[in-house]
Amino acid sequence: MGLVNLTQMESGQSGEVVEIQGGFGITRKLESMGIRVGKQIVKVSGLFLRGPVTVKVGNTQLSMGHGMAAKIIVEV
């Protein structure tokens, strides 16, 4: 058990979203696309050189920039 952000997770690892450290706009946008506190999330892949991180929530795959991924805190 521990808290990590999305960029620190391994591909294939899953966990529960516990915090989104972003402003109102970004939190709302992520929420409407399916990422919010309490949701189960699986990391699908992360590209090298601080590339985007792809995750799966429910049946949706979402891809986001490295910076945004670092703001999503997951309990694994």
């Binding site: 706009g25 929420e31 696309m33 590209l47 090298f48 049946n59 795959q61 891809s63 920039g65 945004m68």
Partner: protein, 573 residues
């Protein structure tokens, strides 16, 4: 007339439902953000003529980009909302549904992609969902048309749900309850397509897959395009059409004003479809014999890649690179559309969130992304000198695209947000839908291109006869000859590029340019000034100030690059 609007999250199939209801075809693809503008169509629903509006997708009624603003705007004065939901993503889609239900407009829900729920191990209790939402809910499969009649039949049952305004947290709480009660998930193993999905965005496998996809796409485009030219269009023009036009030329007396406009100049007593420059010769041969085959194969391959769902994956792989240009990965989609035609490419920049991104994307696209028509002419004309020269033209354009993006990223104020996109599953394309989209694009090309090419031919011939070109050529000679190393008359081709670039490249043919001059002139032509269709859409999307800024950049950069290219080639070749 009653107005019905289709609303839903991006990539849930609104455009497919729209085509089903109205018979009006709109472009539908497998990636979020295909529709950026609304389309109106008409349908007879339960004996009543109604207007149906296809709106861009949106996740919420608080828009975050231009395309979503258009969607929310559509909600004003409508009589009914058909809320299209992706049944495989019920939870996320319901947020918009709940927001719509607070609007005091009758709502009916279409649960689209119903067939996919089965393979994905999702069971939805539709009766219960209806009970919760208190609006009609109908499972449909829009691509096959299944359920569409039932959807239409139940429209009269829709009434305003009369739900009070909720807070965000309350809506999510309600959704949690609805999902618990109506949806069951069963765990399924990864299918083959899902494995390929994962492989195409993993660091080690994704880039090789992208390289293979792009290589194959390019090969197929050239194979079909050149095959059509060599085996169908050229023989048709040379063997069947040419003798007819030759007869007409004799009837017209082989020379004179009318002859020059209709048939053009005879080259050694014969018609030359590239050089004659009459309405019925070059005017038809350039758009139909040289450009159409490439446009045909380009759109066929593009439509396939779109419908499979590959493009968002490419966006993820290229996110890093695009950030250096002040954009994010998704901006690659407008660029790829721009390779077909810059007009839909520029429209598609509406999926980008900030003004700065739109400015950078539109500027580098109109300077460095040659449309299919222009590419076809460059292949056709420069290709005769050898593949190396074609590579020089496209290589230069790519370097300019990249370098200008890097510079604009450092110099344009504002911010560029991070990538955040939904990645659609791979789907086997529906051939019917794919071919329809393909025909629409082809038809659009013929409708838009042919009249302008013909107009261009008339203008060129008239100005030639009036000797206007001589004045311009003398005036611009210091730049065109001195800096670019071209014959002074070549300025005319560059100017005609404002009408259409394909016909402008065609104008270079009679000058008997050297390979080096061809490379310089077609590169400058590609970059110099947007064609009138692109210019109009730029103006609409950017406004006057930024359009002037963008075009000033284009003129300056193209002259600079043309000069540098001219001197480098002189030393090297």
């Amino acid at each position: 007339m009653k107005k019905i609007v289709l609303m839903g999250n991006p990539n849930v199939g609104k455009s497919v439902v729209f085509s089903r209801l109205t018979g009006t075809h709109v472009i539908a693809s497998n990636y979020p953000g295909t529709t950026v503008e609304f389309t109106e169509g008409f349908a007879k629903i339960n004996e009543e003529q109604v207007t149906i509006i296809d709106a861009p997708g949106t996740y919420t009624l608080d828009p975050t980009c231009k395309a979503e603003e258009v969607a929310v705007e559509m909600l004003k004065d409508v009589d009914l909302v058909i809320n299209i939901i992706d049944a495989t993503n019920l939870e996320r889609n319901l947020y918009l549904t709940l927001e719509l239900m607070e609007k005091d407009i009758p709502v009916i829900v279409a649960l689209n992609m119903w067939d996919e729920t089965k393979h994905k191990g999702i069971t939805i209790n539709v009766e219960k969902l209806e009970e919760f939402l208190r609006v009609p809910v109908i499972p449909v499969v829009a691509v096959t048309g299944q359920g569409i009649n039932r959807l239409v039949g139940r429209i009269p049952e829709a009434t305003p749900p009369g739900v009070r305004k909720h807070k965000r947290g309350e809506r999510w709480k309600d959704i949690g309850r609805i999902i618990d009660e109506t949806q069951k998930l069963e765990h399924r193993h990864h299918t083959f397509l899902e494995r390929v999905e994962d492989a195409s965005i993993h660091a080690l496998t994704g880039i090789p897959i992208a390289a293979v996809v792009i290589f194959i796409a390019f090969k197929i485009i050239r194979f079909i395009g050149e095959g059509l030219i060599g085996y169908v269009f050229e023989p048709l023009f040379e063997n069947i059409y040419a003798p007819v036009v030759m007869k007409l030329s004799e009837v017209l007396g082989s020379k004179g004003f009318l002859h020059d406009i209709i048939i053009g100049k005879l080259i050694e007593g014969e018609i030359d479809f590239v050089q004659s420059f009459g309405l019925l010769t070059t005017g038809l041969f350039v758009p139909i014999g040289m450009v159409l085959p490439y446009v045909f194969s380009f759109f066929l391959v593009l439509s396939f890649l779109e419908d499979v769902g590959y493009l968002p994956r490419l966006a993820i792989l290229l996110d890093n690179l695009m950030h250096r240009l002040g954009l994010h990965g998704y901006a690659i989609i407008p660029m790829i559309l721009g390779l077909g035609c810059n007009v839909p490419g520029i429209m598609a920049t509406r999926i980008l969130e900030s003004r700065r991104e739109k400015f950078i994307a539109i500027t580098i696209m109109s300077i460095g992304v040659p449309c299919a028509a222009l590419q076809a002419m460059i292949f056709g004309l420069v290709g005769k000198q050898g593949g190396l020269y074609v590579a020089m033209v496209f290589g230069t354009l790519f370097i300019v695209w990249l370098a200008l993006g890097l510079i604009l990223n450092l110099s344009v104020k504002g911010f560029s947000p991070s990538l955040l996109i939904e990645v659609p599953p791979y789907r086997l394309p529906s051939w019917r839908a794919l071919l329809k989209k393909f025909w629409m694009r082809l038809f659009y090309f013929i409708k838009e291109a042919l009249p302008i090419v013909l107009l261009g031919v008339i203008i060129i011939n008239t100005l030639y006869i009036l000797k206007v070109f001589d004045v311009i050529a003398d005036l611009t000679a210091p730049v065109v000859t001195g800096l670019l190393g071209l014959p002074k008359e070549a300025v005319i081709a560059i100017l005609i590029g404002f009408l259409r670039k394909d016909v402008a490249v065609g104008m270079l043919a009679p000058f008997n340019l050297t390979a080096q001059q061809l490379v310089v002139s077609s590169t400058v032509l590609a970059m110099f000034f947007p064609c009138i269709a692109t210019f109009t859409i730029m103006f609409k999307e950017l406004g006057s100030k930024d359009t002037i800024k963008a075009t000033a950049i284009m003129v300056f950069v193209s002259l600079l690059v043309g000069t540098v290219l001219n001197f480098i080639l002189r030393i090297v070749l």
